[in-house]
């Protein structure tokens, strides 16, 4: 994926979430504004047959994985045109056929599941890998340590990506996690690990590619920590606890502006081309919203379908 495509993917996510939040029926959401580069950089190195599992902060990774924005919007709004027929929502968004095995809204809950998917891949589809994206909040949970241990023992083709935005809801990382660097957690298990600037999409892509290829060729699990910034509060149900001054400083680190400005400065993106890109994205999101609005809600009888 070249840098223009990376930029387009990030713009799409930003515009999608903005369009969602303009609606009064947006529901309970965890947004990725500020963290687009992690999802986009990671997904740019995954192949068609690879699978991605995520935390409940799933909108960016789902779109970056190539899910149709209209279908994702439909799922978030509870419409049957969503890949989970509106039953999963953001917390459990999934489209297996698109390589998006899906979100799971229990912090650290998808880690051992992803290792199991990787075990199936190892036995049935050699050469493919499974990526699991989780927040720094998951790093204090036993599930991560149990998963690192078994994945290392069994050399599972598993790319673990920690999107470290520095906060578990309001609790800063310094109060929640002892390790100096979260990628240090992989060391004792002999798992190759790196920490990169998660606001630099090219850096995320390059590191993810290097680690993914090692895992793909039999090195076992790999661990990538991306240092990112969350521009919104933890979720639509939680108030912002950071100061206005802090937020202003954080927003200056926008991964989209950073890439676009760099491209422009290097002459790789003219002002008119940038405008055109933004216009394309605007039209795609408008179409997605129209698609989702036109889709039906489930019949109440679906409350008991696909249970047993």
């Amino acid at each position: 994926m070249d840098r223009i495509e990376l930029l387009r993917a990030m713009l799409l996510i930003r515009a999608f979430e903005a369009a969602l939040m303009r609606r009064s029926d947006h529901g309970f959401q965890l947004l990725s504004e500020g963290q687009e580069a992690v999802a986009v950089g990671l997904c740019s190195v995954l192949g068609e047959r690879d699978q991605l599992l995520t935390s409940g902060r799933s909108i960016a990774p789902a779109l970056a994985r190539g899910l149709e924005p209209g279908a994702v919007m439909a799922e978030l709004l509870g419409k049957t045109a969503g890949p989970c027929r509106g039953k999963g929502g953001r917390g459990h968004l999934a489209q297996r056929s698109a390589g998006f095995f899906g979100a799971h809204a229990v912090v650290a809950g998808n880690l051992s599941i992803a290792a199991g998917v990787a075990l199936a891949a190892q036995l049935q589809e050699p050469g493919t890998i499974v990526a699991c994206l989780f927040g720094d909040g998951a790093c204090g949970a036993g599930a991560l340590h149990e998963t690192l241990n078994i994945a290392a023992l069994w050399k599972l083709p598993l790319l673990l990506v920690c999107d470290n935005n520095g906060y578990s809801v309001s609790t800063p990382r310094s109060e929640a996690l002892a390790p100096k660097s979260l990628s240090d957690l992989a060391g004792p298990f002999g798992i190759p690990a790196r920490t990169v600037d998660g606001m630099d999409v090219a850096a995320v892509r390059d590191a993810a590619r290097e680690l993914a290829e090692r895992s793909r060729t039999g090195a076992g699990p790999v661990f990538l920590e991306c240092l990112s910034e969350r521009f919104a509060s933890h979720s639509t149900a939680v108030r912002e606890t950071r100061s206005a001054a802090e937020m202003q400083a954080i927003r200056k680190r926008c991964p989209i502006s950073r890439l676009a400005d760099n491209l422009e400065a290097e002459g790789g993106l003219s002002a008119s081309a940038r405008k055109q890109l933004e216009e394309e994205v605007r039209r795609a999101i408008a179409a997605a919203v129209r698609f989702a609005e036109a889709a039906p809600y489930p019949d109440p009888s679906e409350a008991v379908s696909d249970v047993v």
């Binding site: 039953k87 095995f101 899906g102 051992s112 199991g116 990787a118 599930a143």
Partner: protein
């Protein structure tokens, strides 16, 4: 060999046979658990499987119940079929997140895209091992939509229910009882599956129905023998499958006898008996009911206290007499 030929097997042998047959039939089945490979399982209930199917399919795991179940769930969701063994049901609590939050909901939450054909095999019941190695928490699991629960009382049912569980679309918790492992029973030589959701009438009778399962079926049988000597005729319904429950068989029997006693080794509050009796009363007017379970206390490894806590023949026979005296 005639088609009704039978062979006496211990529980562990019935389990090995079921797994061997199903693993031969379906190469996607894998077994994950502590000490399942060369060691053959804590109750030797996996003996020979490692030698036959190899390390890729019979895998020792670290002591990490949450990740063990999570891995089994993920592998099953992605196209394998996993049996995860949890040595004691008490430790299943450590793995409830992947089982309840993921496996039981996967088909629903993905709109039918992902199914989790997983069997969690575990053991319940008191056998001198103390407060965190004795519990019977089947009723907790019965309350989870999307989860099936079976608990055999005979080697033939262990064999037939485990085979059926290994062909289900969704997650099943299969519960052995520690006190049943030293016992043997006739198992058909011919391949026989026992469908989930079908109870069995172990003993026919006319005065009272005792609905029970797992090791407590033995206590019910001994109680029925003693009561028969007093002229009281007990019918014993072995539920076998707790989710789904076969209320048709329970109600058919209780409708004939007019009295229903439930017997379980777990707790009475929100227990199996509470559910069975409530549902029976929804269908049967004027049904006399009583329930027996463990005392509302932990189960000690102290033999005196353990015996005092869990139901025995005395308590069952007293309860039946009391129930019939209320006529």
């Amino acid at each position: 060999m005639s088609s009704d030929a039978r062979q006496k097997l211990f529980f562990r042998e019935a389990i090995i046979r079921a797994l061997r047959e199903e693993m031969d039939r379906n190469e996607r089945i894998i077994v994950l658990g502590q000490d399942v490979a060369e060691f053959g399982g804590s109750y030797r209930e996996f003996e020979g499987l490692f030698e036959r199917f190899g390390r890729a399919r019979v895998r020792n795991t670290p002591v990490a119940e949450s990740a063990m179940i999570g891995l089994g769930v993920g592998a099953a969701a992605a196209g394998l079929r996993a049996l995860v063994t949890i040595t004691y049901m008490d430790f299943l609590m450590l793995g409830l997140d992947p089982l309840v939050n993921y496996a039981a909901k996967a088909r629903y939450k993905t709109g039918g895209q992902i199914e989790v054909p997983l069997v969690v095999k575990t053991t319940a019941g008191a056998k001198g091992q103390g407060v965190a190695h004795s519990q019977c928490i089947e009723a907790w699991l019965m309350a989870v939509p999307g989860l099936k629960v079976v608990a055999p009382a005979t080697p033939a049912d262990a064999y037939g229910l485990l085979k059926s569980a290994l062909r289900e679309r969704g997650p099943v918790v299969y519960v052995d009882h520690k006190r049943l492992f030293p016992t043997a029973g006739e198992v058909p030589n011919e391949e026989t599956l026992i469908p989930l959701g079908e109870a069995a009438i172990r003993r026919c009778g006319s005065d009272v129905t005792i609905a029970t399962f797992s090791f407590m079926t033995r206590i019910a049988e001994r109680s029925a023998e003693r009561l028969a000597a007093e002229g009281i005729s007990c019918e014993i319904v072995d539920l076998r499958s707790l989710a789904p429950l076969d209320m048709a068989t329970v109600c058919g029997s209780a409708g004939r006898t007019g009295a229903l006693l439930t017997l379980e080794e777990g707790q009475l509050s929100c227990g199996v008996g509470a559910e069975v009796i409530f549902r029976a009363r929804e269908s049967l007017a004027n049904l006399r009911t009583a329930r027996i379970g463990a005392l509302p206390a932990p189960v000690s490894s102290n033999p005196i206290l353990e015996a005092a806590c869990i139901p025995d023949v005395e308590r069952v026979t007293d309860a039946v007499r009391g129930l019939l005296a209320s006529r």
